[in-house]
């Protein structure tokens, strides 16, 4: 019996249940996968529904009346949405570049075994992992002392470094960059800055990509910093805009009204409901297309994290 199983299933097919169980498992997973994906498709379908159909019959899984009004509205008149898109892109790019440089440089420095201040800097990285000042004092220091309130830096700086990422970098540098490589560069007269930028960074692409991806998704998906520090609507990111639209569906019409057209006309004609869901789709679309390809880097980062918390 046992030998037959081996013969039938081939070498890489151990730990396999019977055909019937396999079918049941597949059905369960198809159901779960749909539960995870369909809600986003519902949002897409609402963004493609005509405003009248939403007003009359509510949201539907499949639109009762298709309409691209929301998207053409955004393309033609959605200055507020396009500006928010610009802020999101800017914050994501600047934040990711800055975060990667700050994280990798610190990770490299504390990975150097003979560096004199290694102990001190390791503690500086380590202590925030176990103790933090809490939201209240962080808020007052960022808003009042550092003057970040209503500046784009409030969206960038507080998220740039995390000790977790620094330690991932340090572990990577320590385990993959041979000491001999650094030493021979030192003997050739290269300074540490040059070694870091022209030797260490180029050969550390896997970890740089992992950290960069973590940061990229974190910046793109951040709404909390906006909620804390941004009152000026010109500095809203897409997430902050969606957050605002969720509590006040008329915000878009009000903003457009301030630019000349009468508010009453806009409020009556604008595709408010579908435009709001269209903003959600604009946020999710790049993420949904990107993550399946970058999953590998995420997984490596997460699994390092799980073992090397």
């Amino acid at each position: 019996m046992a030998a037959r199983t081996v013969y039938e299933s081939g070498l890489d097919k151990f730990n396999r249940p019977s055909k019937g169980v396999n079918i049941v498992f597949n059905l369960i997973f198809i159901l779960l996968a749909l539960v995870c994906v369909v809600p986003m498709l519902v949002v897409l379908s609402i963004s493609l529904s005509s405003e009248d159909s939403i007003r009359q019959t509510g949201y539907h899984i499949i639109p009762t009346a298709f309409s691209g009004d929301a998207y053409s509205y955004i393309a033609q008149q959605g200055t507020m949405i396009l500006r928010a898109l610009g802020i999101s892109v800017l914050v994501t790019i600047v934040g990711t570049v800055l975060g990667v440089l700050l994280t990798a440089s610190m990770g490299y420095v504390i990975s150097r075994p003979n560096y004199k201040l290694k102990g001190l800097l390791t503690w500086i990285v380590f202590i925030p992992m176990i103790f933090n000042g809490g939201l209240v004092s962080s808020y007052y220091i960022n808003a009042n002392l550092l003057g970040l309130k209503d500046t784009v830096w409030a969206l960038i700086l507080p998220l740039a470094v995390s000790s977790f990422n620094v330690i991932i970098c340090k572990t990577f540098f320590k385990s993959t960059i041979p000491d001999g490589l650094i030493e021979s560069a030192e003997i050739d007269g290269a300074g540490q800055l040059r070694i870091f930028f022209s030797i260490v960074l180029p050969i550390s692409l896997p970890v740089i990509a992992t950290i960069g991806l973590f940061l990229c998704f974190a910046y793109w998906n951040d709404w909390f910093q906006s909620m804390l520090y941004i009152n000026n609507q010109d500095l809203y990111s897409l997430q902050a805009l969606l957050n605002n639209l969720m509590s006040n569906v008329d915000a878009l019409a009000k903003n457009a009204a301030s630019m000349g057209v009468s508010y009453a006309v806009l409020a009556a004609t604008m595709p408010k409901e579908s435009a709001r869901m269209a903003v959600a789709i604009i946020i999710v679309l790049p993420v949904a297309f990107a993550y399946p390809f970058f999953q590998r880097y995420f997984i490596s980062g997460l699994t390092i994290g799980a073992v090397k918390g």
Binding site: A3, P17, N22, Y115, K116, I130, N132, G133
Partner: protein
């Protein structure tokens, strides 16, 4: 590494490399001082009658000491009991489900005959992890809105009464637990599946030759080899038991006041009071969270070090 020898080395040989490395670490060090260490000292405002107007530093220095008044105020309020119950209660449920469900699903994915199908399921189930809570809140609204939501339309079409979801607190513990699991299950599966795929195939080969059933292979090979990761994830989660996912508890219920009793955790309370400028109680609650959080994280780390020194933080 004793401090004595370190000090001696510092005095004797400070090389050019050390200066350059210090320069390289300087920007990040400044970042840490501004965004991590200054707030740690700012925590003393929990013991002050802090005023909001004016410069921060002069306020911290000049505002009168309040002793433990802020804490008294916090713990005498009804909110204290609610936030402790919610914070710990939800976290305990999340920790248990956050292990049982992803481990079970990871085991199942590992057993699928078709590897590629497993990859596709796993990728699809990873999607919610990449959505922000603001987007999830919009998704929730599409389903739960009173007059337009899909769930109420289904209820009505089946002859039922529509439910005012955002006003009825009895449904929210289940909804929040569901949303949490929905968003985090993909992440958990990835972590556990990485362990499963790392298991040496020869163990299973030997077991199959000895006539082990699929259940026995899982019970005596896969699970024991996953034990370490499971224990580690468990302890790390317990270490963060005083912290909650603000977005889940604030964005998904759309800050509805009728749901206060079942959706307010310590993070939500601190944020709300910060925004309404009741700094005293907010800073006291944040202080309690930081200190208890520190103790639990250190304890968790201490336990991790006893189990597996390589996985400990220090």
């Amino acid at each position: 590494m004793s401090t004595k020898t370190k000090g001696k080395r510092l005095r004797t040989r400070w090389r050019k490399q050390d200066a350059e490395l210090t320069l390289l670490a300087l920007p990040t060090t400044i970042w840490y001082i501004l965004f991590c260490f200054l707030p740690m000292f700012g925590i003393i405002i929990a013991f002050k009658n802090f005023r909001i107007s004016g410069g921060f530093l002069s306020n911290v220095i000049n505002s009168p000491w309040a002793g433990f008044k802020n804490f008294e105020f916090l713990f005498k309020s009804n909110d204290a009991w609610i936030i402790i119950r919610n914070t710990l209660g939800y976290n305990i449920v999340f920790i248990v489900l956050g292990i049982v469900i992803p481990v079970a699903l990871a085991l199942m994915v590992g057993m699928l005959h078709n590897r590629r199908a497993g990859k596709v399921y796993q990728t699809m189930m990873f999607l919610p992890y990449f959505l922000s809570w603001v987007v999830v809140s919009a998704v929730g609204w599409a389903f739960l809105s009173f007059d337009k939501g899909i769930v109420n339309q289904m209820l009505v079409s089946m002859g039922g009464e529509p439910i005012n979801w955002y006003m009825e607190s009895k449904y929210w513990p289940y909804l929040l637990i569901f949303m949490h699991v929905w968003k985090s299950v993909g992440y958990g599966m990835v972590v556990y599946l990485a362990t499963i795929t790392g298991i040496d195939k020869t163990y299973y080969e030997a077991a199959v030759i000895d006539g082990a059933s699929i259940w026995q292979q899982t019970r005596f090979i896969t699970l024991p080899l996953m034990k370490l990761v499971i224990v580690m994830m468990f302890i790390l989660a317990v270490g963060r038991i005083f912290y909650t996912d603000f977005g889940l508890f604030f964005q998904v219920p759309r800050d509805s006041n009728s749901l206060f009793n079942v959706t307010t955790t310590i993070d939500v309370l601190v944020y709300k009071q910060l925004k309404t400028a009741t700094v005293g109680m907010a800073s006291a609650a944040a202080f309690v969270q930081s200190v208890l959080g520190c103790i639990t994280i250190l304890t968790a780390n201490w336990i991790v070090r006893r189990i597996d020194p390589d996985s400990a933080m220090m």
